[in-house]
């Protein structure tokens, strides 16, 4: 539609965010809300042409923009998307719209600031996915954390300070090491921060590759999060407001996995192969161990947070599934499908918990019971998301897990067997929670007073439900876009730089 579509997708929400901020205090909250929803909607609509105008037969970067930024260091404002990042730009813009709607009348204090934080974060995240310059990526990647800190810190729960500090500690170390790695690669690639130039570097000795891989790993694994650097996530989720949890689960986690497939894998193929067994083991620990931990949670948000970690284990599992020097295509595409799907499903789950929290002001499973008696429509929606979270076929939750498991059988039967335990544990923790919260007799007077979803909540639930079902029934719509980009990735990783 426009020649600089990606810039529009990045800067429209940010400008809208600044406009929202300009409305000032809470006396003009309604105006702030409407500007926010207009900005989010504009951002989403502007991202749609990325999908419609995407050329499935072109494997390179599309919608590219390339301008000088800091010339003396060869840093450029270079944007472009392939079939992988394009999907996440759209997913992010979509989620932002949902989040703005989700926070509509729930947030009563500092409305403008709340909405602005999400809009600005949305633009920054789009930037991280679209950046083709490593420093530009780094700026967006770090920048998007600031609104998230604020969201948790200002609108969060009672232990928000602990949660933010924990998050900060985890993130700090990795980020700095990644910067060092990027600077090293800058020199190797001939004084450019161009990511594709990084990928084209012909020779990097194995021990250097491994050091660089560890630097990237520390940065990205925390974001995913992989076991054992995952413990910040449950705390962050518990403290974050509903919208924060939705973005955190749906988008922020994906950036970690995206980092692996944009940097660590294609730039450092030998290290990736060398360390793939460790990555697979960590991923399987995430699937099994975290699945069991999720089972015993008494806090709904913590439960879904652990469930997120377990589902993200499938993503990292799929990204490091090697047969010889080749990544398994099933597993890689499965990982990507899982990432998109988890965006819809986790947003749905966290929104459902938010809907209940707004009424009862508790996240404890024990404080609920028999919600279906009072909120039948809500119960039906939550059933759908719970089933998607359990990986039921015809929901989006199935396709990714299925593809990763199919890929894993081809590589090593036991990887597949351990991964497939999620069929049992995933269903166990999700449906057991559902049973205790939704089914049964009305448990107490708080549940007795619950009223079914209002129109706004219905809208959010229905849109997310359609996304979950649509992707489950026709994943081809997503997968067809990513084939060439994935082939490209596999070809890069199959090379050796020794």
């Amino acid at each position: 539609m426009f020649t600089n579509q990606l810039s529009l997708v990045i800067w429209t929400p940010i400008v809208a965010g600044l406009l929202v901020l300009a409305t000032g205090g809470d006396q003009r909250a309604t105006l702030a809300r409407w500007i926010a929803v207009a900005g989010a909607l504009a951002g989403f609509l502007l991202s749609v042409p990325l999908y419609c105008g995407f050329d499935n037969l072109n494997g390179g970067m599309q919608f590219a923009e390339n301008l000088p930024w800091i010339d003396s260091f060869g840093i450029r404002y270079s944007l472009g998307v392939d079939g992988i990042s394009m999907l996440f730009v759209i997913l992010n813009s979509f989620t932002t719209l949902m989040v703005v709607l989700a926070g509509w009348e729930v947030i009563q204090k500092r409305v403008a600031q709340y909405m602005a934080a999400f809009l600005i974060m949305s633009g920054l995240i789009n930037g991280a996915f679209a950046a083709l310059d490593a420093i530009l990526f780094y700026v967006f990647f770090e920048g998007m954390l600031i609104p998230m800190y604020l969201i948790i810190g200002v609108w969060g729960g009672p232990r928000r300070v602990y949660a933010s500090i924990k998050f900060f500690l985890y993130t700090l170390l990795g980020s700095l090491l990644m910067l060092v790695a990027l600077i090293y690669l800058y020199f190797q690639a001939g004084k450019t921060f161009d990511i594709q130039a990084f990928q084209a570097i012909a020779k990097i000795p194995l021990h250097v590759q491994i050091l660089l891989f560890i630097a990237f790993f520390l940065s990205f694994a925390v974001k995913v999060p992989m076991w054992p650097v995952h413990t910040w996530l449950p705390d962050a989720h518990v403290e974050a407001p509903t919208g924060g949890s939705m973005v955190l689960a749906a988008i922020t986690l994906k950036i970690g996995a995206y980092g692996f497939l944009r940097f660590a894998l294609p730039i450092l193929p030998d290290a990736a192969r060398e360390l793939s067994t460790i990555m697979v083991v960590l991923s399987l620990v995430a699937v099994v161990y975290i699945g069991l931990v999720a089972l015993v949670q008494s806090d709904m948000k913590k439960l879904v947070a652990y469930s997120s970690i377990s589902h993200m284990g499938f993503v990292t599992l799929g990204l490091f599934m090697f047969t010889g020097s080749h990544l398994n295509q099933w597993a890689v595409e499965g990982a990507l499908v899982q990432m998109v799907s988890h965006g819809f499903v986790s947003a749905g789950m966290f929104f459902c918990i938010g809907v209940m929290y707004d009424r009862v002001h508790s996240r404890n499973i024990a404080d609920y019971g028999g919600v279906a008696n009072k909120m039948p429509i809500f119960a039906a929606f939550m059933m759908l998301f719970a089933m998607a979270n359990s990986g039921l076929p015809a929901t989006s939750g199935f396709a990714g897990e299925f593809m990763v498991i199919m890929g894993a059988v081809q590589v090593n039967f036991w990887y597949a067997a351990l991964a497939a335990t999620t069929l049992i544990f995933g269903a166990a923790y999700t449906l057991w929670m559902y049973k205790r919260v939704i089914f049964g007799e009305v448990a107490n007077s708080h549940v007795e007073e619950m009223s079914d979803v209002n129109k706004r909540e219905f809208l959010v639930l229905a849109v997310l439900a359609l996304a979950v079902l649509g992707m489950g029934l026709y994943p081809q719509a997503f997968v067809a876009k990513m084939h060439l980009a994935v082939n490209d990735l596999i070809a890069h990783v199959a090379q050796t730089k020794l």
């Binding site: 924990k166 500690l169 985890y170 060092v180 600077i183 090293y184 020199f187 190797q188 054992p228 413990t231 910040w232 161990y289 975290i290 069991l292 931990v293 999720a294 089972l295 015993v296 949670q297 295509q329 099933w330 595409e333 028999g370 279906a372 008696n373 059933m383 089933m387 039921l392 076929p393 015809a394 199935f398 396709a399 299925f402 498991i405 199919m406 059988v409 081809q410 039967f413 036991w414 597949a416 497939a420 335990t421 069929l423 049992i424 544990f425 269903a427 166990a428 449906l431 049973k435 939704i438 089914f439 049964g440 007799e441 029934l473 026709y474 994943p475 081809q476 997968v479 067809a480 084939h483």
Partner: protein, 677 residues
């Protein structure tokens, strides 16, 4: 209308009904909801009959084509697609006919339930899912249908979601099925990985013979036959869905759901999905005697030992449930004996007479005002003549009375196991022949307790609520002055309609199904290795001869003995079962506790997982990662910063020094690079 549209119409019309009743039931009301769903299923049933007729008369051709592309990966296309051959055609008719009867019956059974529209929506959704399962032409859609019927089963077992027992039972059913699906999915993975990278049945079956001797190393250094591993993994899925030992534990509890779905899902159709799947995969199973032995052993244990449990049940639905388990065991034994056509034959006859028995039990439950305890019944024959007669016919079919439909299918199973050469066949034969007596005994124990003898609701004491979780909180039952009365026509009409095939279908179907050409090219049997069906064919001289001959056979004598024993124990000398119960209390306790399988699973797996989860959480996450590393680091940072704070002098030169050190560090990195080159 071309065939593809026809098959689409068969599959989708129940879905349309389900969506209308589910989403708009609140607006269109009860009557319109049941009309629209019955219409949907009715269209399917009529068209299915047409399809089956075409196959029976040899006018139909096998249809195998994709509908739409679900996914492409690595050059391989997954499509949602239909395979309609004689096997599918038979299942179409069984599913849609029983479903239609259950829809009609539901009008009467659920008339007072506030979830009326929701119930119709669910059973139509189930019908759609089951049709997708049986019409699939590939493994992935099979798995879709497989999980979708599981989902609807979950929703329907927990239909009365206020009841703690119901929501426990539905979670249990879903999770136990997931254990089966775990194996099933890995089996599908093996198929995709080794059978030429396709999941279409036709491609896989074409690739299989060449792989008969291929081995894989699942455990490094140990060579296992690829086909055995694959078939056993797939069979684990069947064990879950078709409730074979040791994954049978969910089926008795599924009786918490409303009776119509016990008939439709947990007796006639969904639970036979595993049997259908193995029959569909006969080209694979024929290549692995190991897998066939496993199948046969699982079936034998289920057939006999689940029958025993039927003897000690007092809840009318649970007797029928254990009977279903036992009959599913019979079907599985037939699969193990490579008699896939016999297994499918029994699937069909069983669907009719077991749906009949369940719906009749439901009619009794209505008559008894929702009391399910047989100890409070008795003498209902007078009050509920149609229910009585149809129950009797169903029971006679179940125990294998000559000329009834169950006789032809069950006797064929017994005969084919007798001539099977597999190592497991000896045990299997003992199990199925002993099972005949057990079946007759528990069936007629139920029959006599319910329809004959004293009218015990008159003398009912209030202490019948003491039998554990068999109990239901909505029991009110008949008072001493109430009289049970026959159910309305919407309930009795389906009973009569099901009674007809229960009696007749075996007589007419045995010859074309087992010894004709109906399943030619669909079910494949290696007659050299597994000659059972060939031998039976030589001995078969028509349905009449088979019926007459059986009067002198062992199964008939055992069945008769079972009926007579039940009559003697429960009509003539009720002190005998009481005495047996007392003198063999250990056996009785084991049976009443269902061999302690539930306790084992609950205490070991459910509690074990939670204990492990708690351990990982408290020790792994909280103590080690958070306690030691994260908070440790935080403390370390705190300690270091106390020192570092002293560096923050506020003087510009000290900051400049730090910067220079940093720049030097980066530069040395750069120099090191140059030197390294």
């Amino acid at each position: 209308m071309d065939m593809k549209s026809l098959y689409l119409l068969i599959a989708l019309s129940p879905l349309v009904g389900s969506i209308i009743a589910g989403l708009f039931g609140w607006a269109i009301g009860r009557r319109a909801s049941h009309v629209v769903t019955i219409l949907g299923v009715g269209v399917s049933a009529a068209l299915s009959l047409k399809v089956l007729y075409a196959f029976l008369t040899g006018q139909a051709e096998v249809f195998n084509a994709p509908v739409y592309t679900w996914l492409t990966v690595g050059g391989y296309e997954f499509s949602v697609g239909f395979l309609v051959d004689s096997l599918t055609a038979m299942m179409l008719v069984v599913v849609t006919f029983v479903s239609l009867m259950v829809h009609i019956y539901t009008i009467g059974y659920m008339q007072e339930d506030p979830g009326y529209q929701r119930f119709f929506s669910y059973i139509s959704l189930f019908t759609f899912s089951m049709l997708m399962l049986v019409m699939s032409n590939n493994f992935i859609q099979l798995f879709f249908g497989w999980e979708a019927v599981g989902l609807v089963s979950y929703l329907l077992i927990g239909f009365w979601f206020k009841r703690p027992t119901a929501i426990f039972a539905n979670l249990k059913a879903f999770l136990v099925n997931r254990v089966g699906d775990f194996g099933f999915l890995l089996g599908i993975g093996m198929v995709l990985a080794y059978f030429g990278g396709s999941l279409n049945y036709s491609d896989v079956f074409a690739a299989a013979p060449a792989l008969a001797h291929k081995t894989v190393q699942i455990i490094p250094g140990v060579e296992w036959s690829l086909l055995s591993v694959t078939c056993i993994l797939l069979f684990i899925g069947a064990m879950g869905k078709s409730a074979q030992f040791p994954l049978h534990v969910w089926l008795p509890d599924s009786m918490e759901g409303p009776t119509p779905i016990s008939a439709l899902i947990h007796a006639a159709t969904m639970v036979t999905a595993g049997i259908f799947m193995v029959s569909r995969m006969s080209p694979l199973y024929e290549l692995s005697d190991t897998a066939l032995n496993v199948v046969m052993v699982a079936g034998s244990i289920t057939a006999l030992f689940m029958g025993f449990l039927g003897i000690v049940q007092n809840d009318i639905k649970r007797v029928v449930a254990y009977s279903t388990l036992s009959q599913l065991g019979y079907m599985t034994v037939a699969l193990g004996a490579s008699a896939y056509s016999v297994a499918m034959f029994h699937v069909m006859t069983h669907a009719f007479f077991k749906a009949l028995l369940f719906l009749a039990a439901g009619s009794v439950i209505i008559g008894m005002h929702h009391d399910q305890d047989m100890r409070n019944m008795g003498g209902l024959r007078k009050y509920m003549p149609i229910t009585w007669l149809t129950s009797l016919l169903g029971s006679l079919a179940l125990i294998g009375t000559p000329f009834f439909s169950g006789f032809y299918s069950k006797d064929s199973i017994i005969e084919v196991v007798q001539v099977s050469h597999l190592p497991a066949a000896g045990f299997a034969y003992f199990a199925v022949i002993a099972g005949v007596f057990v079946t007759a005994f528990y069936s007629f124990r139920m029959y006599f307790l319910v329809f004959h003898g004293k009218e015990r609701w008159m003398e009912k004491k209030d202490d019948h609520h003491d039998h554990g979780h068999d109990d239901h909180d909505h029991h009110h039952g008949l008072g001493p002055n109430d009289k049970p009365h026959e159910s309305p026509w919407v309930v009795t009409f389906p009973l009569l309609m099901l009674a007809i095939p229960s009696v007749l279908v075996g007589f007419f179907a045995i010859e074309p199904l087992l010894y004709g050409h109906f399943f030619d090219g669909v079910i494949s049997v290696n007659a050299e290795l597994h000659p059972g069906m060939e031998e039976l064919k030589h001995e078969f001289h028509g349905a009449v001869a088979m019926g007459l001959h059986s009067f002198t056979s062992l199964p008939f004598i055992l069945a008769l003995a079972g009926v007579v024993t039940a009559w003697f124990f429960y009509m003539k000398a009720p002190q005998i079962p009481a005495a047996i119960k007392k003198n063999f209390s250990a056996v009785n306790t084991v049976l009443e506790n269902k061999y302690y399988m539930d306790d084992l699973y609950f205490n070991v797996f459910a509690k074990g997982s939670r204990a492990l989860g708690t351990f990982f959480w408290k020790v792994g996450d909280m103590l080690l990662i958070d306690g030691l590393v994260v908070n440790g680091t935080a403390k370390l940072v705190g300690a270091v910063s106390k020192v570092v704070r002293k560096l923050q002098t506020g003087f510009i030169y000290s900051y400049a020094t730090t910067m220079i050190i940093g720049v030097l560090g980066l530069m040395s990195l750069w120099f090191w690079q140059i030197i390294a080159r």
